[in-house]
């Protein structure tokens, strides 16, 4: 097998495919909640080792070859941070979980009063600062492919005619595509990517195995540790070439320590992707162990490379070129994959972390502002915009990385590039540490500090890296801008003779920290900053609301005192007695449960506002005086007074509204009462009329002994008629009253509408003949089923037809009935050719006791209840009864009912 560029590129693509598979399986496992393995502390730790990039894989060997043990500092810093996880990482993870932090920018902005300005600043600076780091990975991958391509005569294969810039561009484009496919498949509210983490953990194993394999191989062909070191010593290579523990050592250890906290991807894996705080405990020793394993063979590989490889070989590539030179193509390919793993994992995670920051802190706020007036559109649209923003920022990040690579391609070594990025992100460290430990740090100071630190970094660390490609930069380096020597980037303020890295670290962090401290002392915090600062500082003391607002053992007596002061004696006693009863123990030995404390807090909040209630209770419960919160409480008193008066106003408004409602209801009741009086008075009238006739004739019959039989019979008949009228009147009144109350057992059932109409026509036929009225059924609907009570429906139709006959008044009276189906409703119309109903009466015709002209006198005087009862009945069948303009000159009534079948 001969290694060619084509082969390694093909292998790399196949490897990427494998990573996809792992990420896919990881995601689907998580979705099925079966991924307990994925949430184990070891996977978590392995994902943290994304810290070890190709800088570690290739560059550490290079550093060791050039500067001896200096490479150890890159591991020493993180080791210190993880061994001391209790102090910083634990706080970061707890705060981030409580506050739902999604990135380093989110963390700092959240602490400093949720300042969006700060979030935007950190996001932009992080994108700039990471560019060199991305460039480093591109360079490593490019160099490794070049190394393989240059190893044999035909190694270049399809890369023929392509220089390293073109290759790097290709790698960057591939990486961008790869990361987009990997990291922006979906938007997760918690910003956790279990599939990606699984793939990263897998890569961690690959790169470690690859490096150890090369190390063992080197030990094997070098004959063991002692011969390698002895050969190196003979060749005049000093392991401690420089003063190992000088300023540079301190600076690098500090940088590495800060990087493992401040790098966006490290924050992502260590803090955001953390699913269980206790995993930190495992990571605190496994991760340093991993780094130890990674660094174990660095020195032997470097020394053996220096002694065995031809002079001028790039020491950064020893891990790859040593197996190649020995003809171990398989091992070389494995080493390449190891380096590729290191680079890809870094690029994927870093650009995902940065793209989250860009989309969350820059794109989404702008989008929200732009759509503020038009309203938020559907979630799908927002999601698409977020995903596109992330894709765009990934491309941007890789393009910036490539740009940096292009501009600084003159320099060979990998490590210095990485250190530039480290120094850049280290500018966030003072603000982060202040977030965790310093209550008085202010947002203004933090913003200024980060800006100052960053400017110094740009000047003394970032810009000098272009000195090989830019004449102007080189000139500024030696003479200062416009000849101002104290502004020379690597000798600021006349500080010379310091290692350039140490110089940049010193000035940037010194000025950064100074601005933060002095600025915080002379500026003041906003109220929100106060609150957030307290939340961050007391993260282990006061649990946030959702986990139970307050924890701790408070004496019931203390709580009672507070409650009594606020709620009054009676209410407080009631609350506590109830709790004691539930807990089945005497009040004196009551141990207030968190639930009870929450309840108490709600009660208090009703009186003095939520914030004050929380402050009051937390003082009692946690048992220690929180001076800031006391200050806050005092400051809030005015606010509370305002809120309280607003609440009072609100309450009185509500009372007024209630009173108005009551007034309306009262008026309605009064109206109903009046209607009832009116009704009773009408009933009284209607009853008294036949009673009067009955009494009058009875008295006549009793008193007049000499009546003719004819008169006597007539009077008795009148009494009988009037008593029947009285009975039917009372029946109708009761019927209507029952209908209106809805008490009557009423059951609509499917009935034939035409059947009911036929019955009504039959009943009225005799009446019509008696009155010489022509009763005619015109067009008829056939086979219609409606929901009704058949007898009641007939009653209504009889009422309408007989009214038309009785109150007609025409010389040749006619009544016409017709039925039809219209818009799926059954329609019956009853019209007559009589006098009709006068315009001014039409509106009142359905009123109770209202009688038309012919209903008042004449042979068929009624009580005026027939139509109201009919209308009530029809409405109980979900139909309508109306007076309509008919086709004859008289009155015309229409009944419509919904049809259920035909």
């Amino acid at each position: 097998m001969t290694l060619t560029a084509d082969l390694v590129i093909a292998t790399a693509i196949a490897y990427v495919g494998l990573l996809f598979l792992i990420a896919y399986i990881g995601d689907s496992h998580t979705r099925r909640r079966a991924g307990s393995f994925l949430r184990s502390p070891f996977v978590y730790t392995l994902s943290i080792s994304v810290y070890c990039t190709s800088w570690t894989f290739y560059g550490a060997v290079g550093t060791a070859a050039r500067s001896g043990l200096e490479f150890v500092t890159i591991y020493l810093g993180p080791t210190l941070v993880f061994l001391g996880w209790w102090f910083i990482l634990r706080r970061l993870v707890r705060i981030s979980h409580d506050q739902r932090i999604t990135s380093i920018a989110d963390l700092v902005s959240s602490r400093f009063g949720k300042s969006s300005r700060l979030a935007v600043l950190i996001t932009i600076l992080a994108v700039i600062a990471i560019a060199p780091y991305i460039a480093l990975q591109l360079k490593a991958i490019t160099s490794s492919i070049e190394a393989i391509a240059g190893s044999s005569e035909f190694g270049r294969g399809s890369l023929e005619g392509l220089d390293d810039v073109g290759l790097a561009l290709g790698v960057a484009a591939g990486m961008a595509m790869f990361t987009i496919l990997f990291g922006t498949r979906n938007v997760d509210a918690k910003e956790q990517h279990h599939g990606v983490v699984a793939a990263i953990a897998f890569e961690a194993i690959v790169k470690l195995t690859a490096l150890i394999s090369v190390g063992i191989f080197v030990l094997y062909i070098g004959g063991g540790i002692d011969p390698i070191f002895a050969n190196a010593a003979r060749a005049g290579i000093e392991i401690n070439e420089r003063n190992a523990f000088g300023d540079r050592w301190v600076a690098m250890t500090l940088l590495a320590a800060s990087a493992v906290i401040c790098l966006p991807r490290q924050f992502q894996v260590t803090v955001v992707e953390n699913s269980d705080e206790s995993h930190l405990r495992t990571a605190s020793w496994v991760f340093p162990g991993y780094m130890l394993a990674m660094s174990l063979f660095i020195l032997p590989i470097a020394l053996y490379g220096l002694t065995s490889m031809p002079a001028g070989s790039n020491p950064d590539m020893f891990t790859l070129t040593l197996p190649l030179a020995a003809g171990q193509d398989g091992l070389a390919l494995f080493a390449f994959i190891g380096g590729f793993s290191s680079a890809t994992s870094m690029i994927i995670l870093e650009s995902i972390a940065l793209s989250i920051m860009v989309s969350n802190h820059i794109v989404v706020p702008i989008m929200l502002r732009m759509t503020a007036n038009t309203g938020v559109d559907d979630g799908q649209g927002v999601r698409a915009i977020i995903l596109n923003a992330r894709r765009f920022s990934i491309i941007l990040i890789l393009f910036l990385g490539f740009g940096y690579f292009y501009l600084t391609r003159g320099s060979d070594a990998l490590a210095p590039i990485g250190l530039i990025s480290f120094t850049g992100v280290a500018q966030f460290l003072p603000a982060i540490l202040a977030s965790l430990f310093w209550r008085d740090a202010s947002a203004k100071a933090a913003t200024a500090a980060i800006i100052v630190g960053f400017i110094v970094w740009l000047w003394s660390s970032f810009m000098p890296s272009f000195s090989s490609s830019s004449q102007l930069v080189a000139q500024i380096m030696t003479q200062g801008p416009a000849g101002i020597t104290w502004l020379r980037p690597q000798a600021l303020f006349g500080l010379e003779n310091l290692d350039p890295l140490a110089h940049a670290v010193f000035w940037s962090l010194f000025l950064n920290t100074s601005v933060l401290i002095i600025g915080s002392l002379i500026t003041s915090q906003s109220a929100l900053e106060h609150v957030q600062a307290a939340l961050f500082l007391n993260v282990f003391r006061n649990r946030p609301e959702n986990a139970g607002p307050l924890r701790g053992s408070a004496a019931a007596d203390d709580l009672f005192l507070v409650a009594r002061r606020v709620l009054g004696h009676g209410r407080a006693v009631a609350l506590f007695s109830e709790e004691a009863k539930q807990a089945r123990m005497p009040w004196s030995s009551l141990e207030p449960s968190p639930a009870f404390i929450r309840k108490l807090e709600r009660e208090l909040a009703g009186s003095i506002g939520a914030a004050s209630a929380h402050v009051m209770l937390s003082k009692v419960v946690s048992g220690d005086a929180i001076s800031l919160e006391e200050v806050m409480q005092m400051a809030d008193e005015t606010q509370q007074a305002i809120e309280y008066s607003q609440e009072l106003e609100k309450t009185s408004n509500e009372l007024r509204a209630t009173a108005e409602k009551l007034e309306v209801a009262n008026q309605q009741l009064r109206k109903v009462d009046l209607q009832k009086d009116e009704f009773l008075s009408q009933v009284s009238h209607e009853v008294r009329t036949p009673m009067t006739a009955i009494r009058a004739f009875s008295e006549i019959l009793l008193n007049e002994a000499d009546l003719e039989d004819q008169s006597r019979e007539k009077f008795v008949r009148t009494i009988h008629k009037e008593s029947l009228r009285l009975t039917s009147l009372l029946d109708e009144i009761l019927d209507l009253s029952a209908l209106e109350r809805g008490e009557r057992s009423w059951e609509n059932r499917p009935v034939s509408a035409e059947g009911a109409l036929d019955q009504a026509l039959r009943v009225c036929d005799a009446l019509a003949r008696q009155n010489n009225t022509k009763l005619e059924a015109l067009e008829r609907a056939r086979n219609v089923t409606v929901l009704a009570e058949p007898d009641r429906l007939s009653q209504v139709l009889i009422n309408l037809i007989s009214n038309a006959i009785k109150y007609n008044g025409a010389i040749q009276p006619e009544v016409e009935v017709r039925s039809r189906i219209e818009n799926n409703r059954y329609v019956v119309e009853v019209c007559d050719n009589g006098l009709g109903i006068a315009e001014e009466e039409r509106a009142r015709i359905f009123d109770k006791f209202y009688r038309g002209r012919l209903g008042e006198t004449g042979p068929y005087a009624g009580a005026g209840l027939g139509l109201p009862i009919s209308r009530e009945i029809i409405s109980r069948m979900n139909g309508t009864l109306d007076l309509i303009p008919g086709w004859l000159e008289g009155a015309c009534f229409r009944v419509t009912l919904p049809i259920i079948a035909r």
């Binding site: 008294r688 009673m691 009058a696 006198t857």
Partner: protein, 129 residues
């Protein structure tokens, strides 16, 4: 064709009973069944007393009473108001409008006869024709 009593009542049975009772007592009777006909009948027949129902069709008894009291020629006509409601409100309105006396339905026949007799005295002659 002067009469003793003009009855304005829309209920046929009640009208028939009143007619019978008052005729038996010796007075001559005329009757109308709605409010519009009352004024005209009063002018034509010059009754000595008007027996007026309040709940009359077309024009209520109140309206009729008001017009009678407003007219010079009928101002002093004695009016007996029949009311089915017998309510204070109706009674007060009728009083204000100048009703002389009230009889509430249902009444005793004797009460009506006695009231009429008190107001216009005994019939001039016992003429039953």
């Amino acid at each position: 064709m002067a009469v003793d009593i003009l009855i304005a009542e829309d209920e046929p049975s009640i009208l028939e009973a009143l007619d019978f009772v008052l005729q038996r007592a010796g007075w001559s009777i005329a009757s109308v069944m709605d409010g519009e006909a009352v004024i005209d009948a009063v002018r034509r027949m010059q009754p000595r007393i008007l027996v007026l129902d309040i709940m009359l069709p077309k024009r209520s008894g109140f309206e009729v009473l008001k017009q009678i009291r407003g007219d010079q020629s009928t101002r002093d006509l004695p009016v007996l108001v029949l009311t089915a409601k017998g309510q204070q409100q109706d009674r007060r309105v009728a009083e204000e409008l100048g009703a002389d006396v009230f009889v509430t339905k249902p009444y005793a026949n004797a009460e009506v006869v006695d009231t009429v007799r008190r107001m216009i005295g005994n019939p001039a002659s016992r003429n039953t024709s």
